[in-house]
């Protein structure tokens, strides 16, 4: 078990493409870190650099007390689970798991024990151990791939989008299994995904990457409640946060949409930014249906989507044409054109600088 320390990591490909622009992350012992971001953001590259499958252009990687920049993948004391599982198709499940141990020269009995133990943890039967990967279902292959990682007893687990080849139902199930497994074994893990739900549910902390830069690093709740930038705000949460162009009032006490609808802000928080153009962000679930109070704003509804547990209402405030999504729980009988009385608590309003796209306060 070990902590992992990434310092000022940069990656430039031979063709001059810069994939990673200086990433610093400290991963504590036993922590589950999720690298999340859209495709092409450099998250897989970063993971592969930790694994030793990509060279590091600049910066240092430490696993435990060792600098691993120039070590072979096999010497880094890591194990990796690949997106397409990368099982050896001609070997049976047992041999797939045992291969790395055989190369390391472990005794036969030791290999037997470790594979047996891993198979027990993953609930693989003896019957499945002698099968070839192609005779297994997607979920079973995924288990074998994890088994191959477990038998190595590594300091760090690396997961490269391990669930994206599975169907939706299995993905939820395997997500739970991975979470349980990591908690049980307590091994430091780095997990790459583009799915924010996976990221939120699995990670102790999340690293949101965009264009090779860390946008924000924090616990799932920190990211949800205090997104540091427009990108994080839009990426975390489903349905995505509503954004609208708006302006702070003279005293900085409220924020006004273009059509005139204004929302109160926490007192004194934005005094320094008075009179400034901002991007307003409100989460769909933070707009609450209410029928009394002086902070009601009426939404002109245009469309309602019924999901059963929730109802998503689309509409706009006043003459401002920006489409807003509101998430109401339960089934609501809402017709297009109805005005919808809503309120939002001041502390649930997020304001961003439209130019730098960073959070204001």
């Amino acid at each position: 078990m070990a902590q992992v320390k990434l310092e000022n990591i940069r990656k430039t490909y031979p063709n001059g493409f810069k994939a990673i622009h200086g990433v610093d992350v400290d991963i504590a012992d036993g922590e589950f870190i999720v690298l999340v971001g859209p495709s092409g953001c450099g998250k897989s590259t970063l993971l592969r650099m930790i694994a030793g499958l990509e060279s590091v252009t600049e910066g240092t990687i430490d696993i435990g007390d060792r600098r691993v920049n120039d070590l072979e993948p096999a010497d880094r004391d890591i194990a990796m689970v690949f997106q397409n599982y990368a099982l050896y198709p001609h070997m049976n499940v047992f041999d797939n798991m045992a291969y790395g141990l055989k190369i390391r020269g472990l005794a036969k009995s030791e290999i037997q024990d470790r594979v047996k133990k891993a198979a027990d943890i993953l609930e693989l039967t003896d019957d499945q151990l002698v099968r070839k990967p192609r005779q297994l279902s997607g979920g079973q292959r995924q288990r074998v791939a994890m088994g191959r990682a477990i038998v190595r007893e590594p300091s760090v687990f690396l997961f490269d989008e391990p669930l994206s080849n599975l169907d939706a139902k299995l993905r939820v199930q395997m997500r739970l299994e991975i979470k349980r497994l990591q908690e049980r074994l307590g091994i430091t893990s780095v997990y790459v995904t583009h799915d924010q739900v996976e990221a939120m549910t699995l990670g102790h902390r999340l690293v949101v990457l965009n264009g090779g830069v860390v946008e924000q690093l924090g616990t799932p709740i920190e990211l949800y409640e205090h997104p540091a930038s427009l990108f994080v705000a839009g990426f975390i949460g489903s349905p995505a946060m509503n954004f609208a162009r708006a302006k702070l009032t003279d005293d900085g006490g409220s924020v006004e949409l273009e059509g005139g609808a204004a929302f109160n802000l926490p007192e004194g928080m934005y005094t320094n930014h008075a009179n400034r153009n901002v991007t307003l962000g409100i989460r769909p679930e933070d707009l609450i249906l209410t029928d009394s109070g002086d902070d009601i704003r009426n939404l002109t509804t245009t469309l309602a989507e019924h999901l059963g547990a929730d109802t998503l209402v689309h509409g706009h405030f006043g003459t401002d044409q920006t489409d807003m999504t509101i998430r109401l729980s339960g089934t609501q009988d809402i017709k297009p054109g109805d005005p919808l009385p809503l309120r939002v608590s001041p502390e649930k309003i997020h304001l961003f600088d439209p130019e730098t796209e960073k959070r204001l306060v």
Partner: protein
């Protein structure tokens, strides 16, 4: 296609049977000729039903050879042919596997250049480069040796190309998984690539064995001693009798013997052969 039209079924069967008959008839004639004595074979019309001399002819062909043929049976020549075909097939596969491995998995300067260099040798079969190749072999004192028979035919662009294509279909993640498991390049080659190319190797072996076995021009050039002759050459030389009539029964028996190994290789490796050429799932 599931269709039930008796006329079409009949016509296609007749066509197929005709085709099989056309291919099989000469082989039947060969077999029949190998079972008669020399006297019967020079009488007209040629026999169409087997005689009773099969084992006598077999013995003469293998052990004694034809009269005036230096008293050498084709037994030795069969062994020579077998050695040559095996060396060519195994040698070609080994060299092609290694060169494809180098081209696909290693980064070195002029990698693609080397690939194309190998590839354009497709345009230079033995027949085209026969004189310079002969000189090289002669200078290396390899005339009348197995090495001289096989080495010039071993370099193979087709097999290299085929293995390259096979390796390219193997996902990169397998290589990466093997690296994480601690497998070095040769270990990866032996433990992952070789077993995964098993069917391709079998398919190529069949093709190359037959290619090597059927070589005629090259052995004719590099062998001058009878104990290095291959069986395919021997058949031709049996026909060159000065005054006597050719001993057709023995010649046909030799032909039969020469046909057997390729047929056996195809029969026994057929399953792998078809798999190797058609299998796409890796």
């Amino acid at each position: 296609m599931i269709e039930n039209r008796p006329i079409i079924t009949l016509i296609s069967h007749v066509t197929l049977i005709l085709g099989v008959a056309i291919i099989a008839f000469p082989i039947w004639v060969t077999f029949v000729a190998a079972t008669h004595d020399a006297v019967r074979m020079v009488q007209v019309p040629l026999p169409l039903w087997p005689g009773d001399q099969f084992f006598e002819n077999l013995e003469q062909a293998v052990v004694r050879g034809i009269a005036g043929g230096g008293d050498l049976g084709v037994g030795m020549m069969l062994l020579n042919s077998l050695a040559m075909a095996m060396m060519i097939a195994v040698g070609k596969i080994a060299i092609s596997l290694l060169s494809a491995f180098a081209i696909v998995y290693f980064k070195f300067p002029f990698r693609m250049g080397f690939f194309w260099l190998i590839f354009i040798t497709l345009m230079l079969p033995v027949e085209v480069r026969i004189i310079p190749t002969f000189e090289v072999v002669a200078n290396l004192n390899m005339l009348n040796t197995y090495w001289g028979l096989s080495i010039p035919l071993i370099a193979s662009a087709t097999a290299t190309f085929m293995f390259r294509q096979t390796f390219l279909t193997i996902p990169d993640e397998l290589l990466e998984a093997a690296r994480i498991d601690g497998a070095g390049p040769m270990r990866f080659f032996k433990d992952i690539l070789l077993p995964m190319s098993r069917t391709n190797i079998a398919a190529l072996f069949v093709i190359l064995f037959i290619y090597g076995w059927n070589q005629y021009l090259w052995p004719l050039l590099v062998t001058t001693e009878q104990d290095m002759y291959t069986v395919v050459m021997a058949i031709k030389q049996m026909l060159e009798t000065a005054e006597q009539a050719p001993e057709w029964n023995i010649i046909m028996m030799t032909t039969l013997l020469a046909m057997m190994p390729p047929v056996l290789v195809v029969i026994f490796m057929q399953k792998l052969f078809v798999k190797g050429l058609t299998e796409t799932e890796k």
